[in-house]
Homo-oligomer: 582 residues x 2
């Protein structure tokens, strides 16, 4: 071992001991007769002192050559510091160096290895191994490890078995695009990388495994939006002989465990809300309930006057923004510009100032009187000092727009506190959603989700109204997990494939193995999958997943550090019986 102690370990009790330390030179200060060096490793920083009077001259001279990020080993005595630094755990002591060995030199790093670095995103990605030396990234990776370990401990203690499912599976053109892997031994054929282990975990339930989980990489060849990765990690879970209630309770337990062990936060029983209610109250199926500003639907109290914009709208809906009456006219105009941006897409915004004296002043005073405005205030829950913001239009669109405004205002008001955790179950999702592009229904969750038995009859008459035994776990406005009770009989599964536009032949070709399996005594079962990258980021109080991934890819799916993907040899292509055809 190159060291007797780590750089985060020594305390005043160690004074007098001879120790050997190793690590990186964080910085050095040369006062001529004395040199101080901050020595860093994963565990912390320890101050070294080279003193002309007490350190051999050769070592002092060598210390003068040290540059940032040199890797060194020192032997010396732990001494008490004259000026202690109470900000660092090792701040009471320093090492009076007797021997210095340079283990490896470093050229000047392209950015500073400090919490606040001068490196831009691209540079940090190219030299990710240097970026990982920085506390913010290093701590995130350690945090991720802790979340994964606690997840495994909890589920294992609850009787779940982690089973590894295969990575080289079969391509299924449903849903997102698969990454495919040409097979050399099976000419002209391809494996696919799993988008999720969905069918395998269901087969494990058919196989009697009873409680399964896996922390597993999944792959999706999608055009990458910001903060999406082509490979991502799921906490994938499935249980047999359960109903929705059992799944919710079990994974509420897991989430509560994580919040307690990882964040030290105790959370009460998670509230539940139907999809319909979430859309009505928050315009969003993953509402952030750390704060209020619930939607007030105003059709009944806003469509009785001569204001055509509202009268022609499917939905008039508003939120009361706390204490935003202080906004100047100019600020409000900027807010209106904000909702009219193409990313939000509103056509305009009506507002009502709620004055401290109980009166109201609105942008539609021409059409509505104080009594009308008072009604709006009651329904949106506005208090004196608030600003009511109203949008109107087609229900789905206007809800999405107002939801975006609600989140924006919460951010501006500092209501999205990263150390507050507000989980929520959203249940009773629709089974199907209409796709304008393909002009047919798609499975909202996936084709294996079971419809609510009482809604099955609607499949033929009003498919969009059929609700599923499907649920999402939402945390602070992010979907961190989602799942469903599955279909477990062949007839219902065939019906489902039929409604999703599969011919019986196509269904058999792609999912025949699953439908066959259902003939041999498949138990009722259901499950859930958590997106680990997102979960870790949110528990860590951050928004972007990239800093919780050791070696992320950029928005073009490239790893700029290793420069992948890249061209491969012709010989390799030939062995795979492939030709590139650009």
């Amino acid at each position: 071992m190159y060291r007797t102690h780590s750089n985060g370990e020594l305390r005043i009790e160690n004074v007098g001991q001879t120790v050997t330390l190793a690590g990186w030179v964080q910085k050095s200060r040369d006062k001529g007769f004395m040199i101080w060096v901050d020595l860093r490793d994963r565990y912390g920083i320890t101050q070294l002192i080279f003193d002309e009077e007490r350190t051999p001259k050769e070592m002092v001279n060598r210390a003068k050559t040290l540059g940032r990020e040199f890797v060194i080993q020192v032997k010396g005595e732990v001494i008490e510091r004259v000026s202690k630094n109470s900000n660092m755990p090792t701040g009471d002591v320093e090492i009076l160096v007797k021997e210095l060995t340079i283990l490896n030199k470093s050229i000047v790093p392209p950015f500073t290895i400090e919490d606040q670095t001068d490196g831009g995103d691209e540079l940090r990605m190219k030299y990710r191994y240097l970026d990982i030396r920085r506390n913010p990234v290093k701590n995130n990776l350690m945090f991720r490890h802790k979340v994964a370990m606690e997840t495994r401990k909890y589920l294992s203690d609850e009787g779940f078995i982690e089973v590894e499912t295969p990575y080289l599976i079969k391509s299924t053109p449903e849903g997102a695009r698969d990454f495919v892997v040409p097979s050399r031994m099976n000419e002209g054929q391809f494996y696919a990388l799993p988008q999720s282990p969905q069918t395998f975990k269901q087969l494990l339930m058919v196989g009697g495994m009873d409680k399964y989980f896996q922390i597993v990489k999944c792959f999706r060849d999608e055009d990458l939006r910001a903060d999406r990765q082509p490979e991502f990690t799921q906490i994938d879970c499935e249980m047999a002989f359960v109903e929705q209630e059992d799944i919710l309770n079990t994974f509420e337990g897991l989430t509560r465990h994580l919040l307690k062990e990882v964040n030290g936060v105790e959370v009460d029983k998670f509230p539940r809300m139907s999809f319909d209610e979430a859309m009505r109250r928050y315009g969003n199926d993953k509402p952030d309930i750390r704060f209020g500003m619930e939607f007030g639907e105003l059709n009944e109290v806003a469509k009785h006057k001569d204001f055509g914009v509202f009268n022609n709208a499917e939905l008039v809906v508003g939120i009361a923004v706390p204490e935003a009456n202080s906004y100047t006219r100019k600020e409000i105009d900027k807010l209106i510009d904000w909702v009219k941006r193409p990313q939000v897409g509103a056509l305009g915004m009506v507002y009502v100032r709620c004055n401290e004296d109980g009166t109201y002043k609105s942008s539609v005073d021409k059409f509505y009187d104080q009594n009308d405005l008072a009604n709006w205030a009651t329904i949106t829950g506005a208090k004196p000092g608030d600003l009511i913001c109203l949008l109107s239009g087609e229900t789905d669109k206007v809800r999405a727009q107002l939801s975006a405004l609600r989140m924006e205002m919460a951010t501006r008001l500092g209501l999205r506190k990263s150390n507050v955790f507000a989980p929520l179950w959203v249940v009773d999702f629709p089974l199907l959603e209409w796709d304008e592009e393909t002009k047919r229904y798609h499975a909202m969750h996936h084709p294996f989700t079971s419809p609510k038995p009482q809604d099955i009859a609607l499949l033929d008459t009003d498919p969009g109204k059929v609700r599923a035994n499907a649920y999402d776990l939402v945390l602070n406005g992010n979907e961190i997990g989602g799942g469903s009770i599955r279909i477990h009989d062949k007839a219902t599964q065939a019906l489902m494939f039929n409604h999703l536009g599969f011919t019986p032949e196509k269904a058999k070709e792609q999912f025949g193995f699953l439908m066959n399996a259902f003939e041999f005594g498949a138990p009722p079962h259901g499950g859930i999958a958590f997106g680990l990258d997102r979960l870790v980021a949110i528990l860590g109080g951050q928004e972007t997943i990239r800093d919780f991934i050791a070696f992320p890819k950029n928005n073009s799916g490239r790893d700029v550090m290793i420069d992948a993907p890249s061209a491969i040899d012709d010989e390799q292509l030939k062995e795979l019986n492939l030709k590139i055809d650009l």
Copy 2:
């Protein structure tokens, strides 16, 4: 929840309770007035009783329709059994059924769901979800989970951080073949699936992660030998600021922990042996030391007579097979045939019977006297009653042949006990090995392994003699782990690439990112990787890894259950800019 208890849970103390159980019908016996059903789940079997006098008639009639593997739910009272079955944990009780619900029917399974099944390998693989219902497979998967959990707990407690490295990386034509993944977004370019996270774990050390591990899938597109899989799982580990001794101690600790927690076996400090010694004493770099039969090298006492076969041989070497003097002449002839099989490849075998009276009788009495044979007995450690088997020829070949014979004899003699664990470190592996086919040296471990400093000079003069800081952990004759201290400076790494036949351009193209990283203060580091599939099989006292993998592939790399790999749509190919060229 479909049940109040599992089928492995109820005991005599539960008598009188009303319970609900669910599971699969293992078997049913219909005595007309009474029907017994064995109900099975992951946790065990509970006997159900349907009694015409005490169970509602409708339920009895329904019970008569039950077939094997039907999934049912029953409600009833726990009663004491008249004839108890002490072989099963629930054998004191049975359930007097009041309500029976058939949750799902089953057609007749293609093989019996019993410990000894009538299903052949192929059928079991096609219906793997049924195979997993059988105790032997189910227990293996649970055992694997336990090994993985204990590994994670141990390493995490030792300060290791599990970091997920990417699956979509860069193709490197060194070593085995990569599986490649065409990139749609980067036209004509390919990712590769990792054969191991080797370079990434080294970059994590450069990044200061200090102690890393990961249980991770790896991929190798090789022609599959028996008991190899195209995707396999590694326990991948790396440490910084360590020397070989530190790695050996740390992972000896892990292995000891697993043996204790998983097998209940306490093992003393693991013996160590150099590669040279292992080859000399056992003819094998992964010797099974659960038993003796060490090699005795006989050149000095066997080449002094007129026996040309020995005189012309590079090596004459023998083992004393305990108590095998009892072999008849016919049996010995069959053994000689065995060593002459092409799989072993010996040209013949000389033997010496060690009689109980201290005399010897050999197949070469024409050339050697009692004194010679007594010398051979001394060197091979033969006792009266043993049979000495001698092979001769080219050193490398004859060692491999005698090693095969040693293992065969141990198997015949029952010396390879699956509940005995004999770990061993083999150290000081050669850095390079000569490849006859390509007529050049290859890295025996991989190109990142550091040569022993004292041997570096030999690189130019006698490359085959250079020893590496490389080690294998051997358990019961299997390599379960292997690793090395790595090169951590750019100059040595460049030297190594040069000796392995890389041009500087090629080295830079493929591993430039790693050599660059070495310029920014790379710490000394090293690591090890365990093959989890093999490790689990050996700890589980079995030889084949396939039954420890939930969904294995066959020898053609096919998953016969889901029928993968398979053809993909032309549209998919077009998007990937590929053409199949058979």
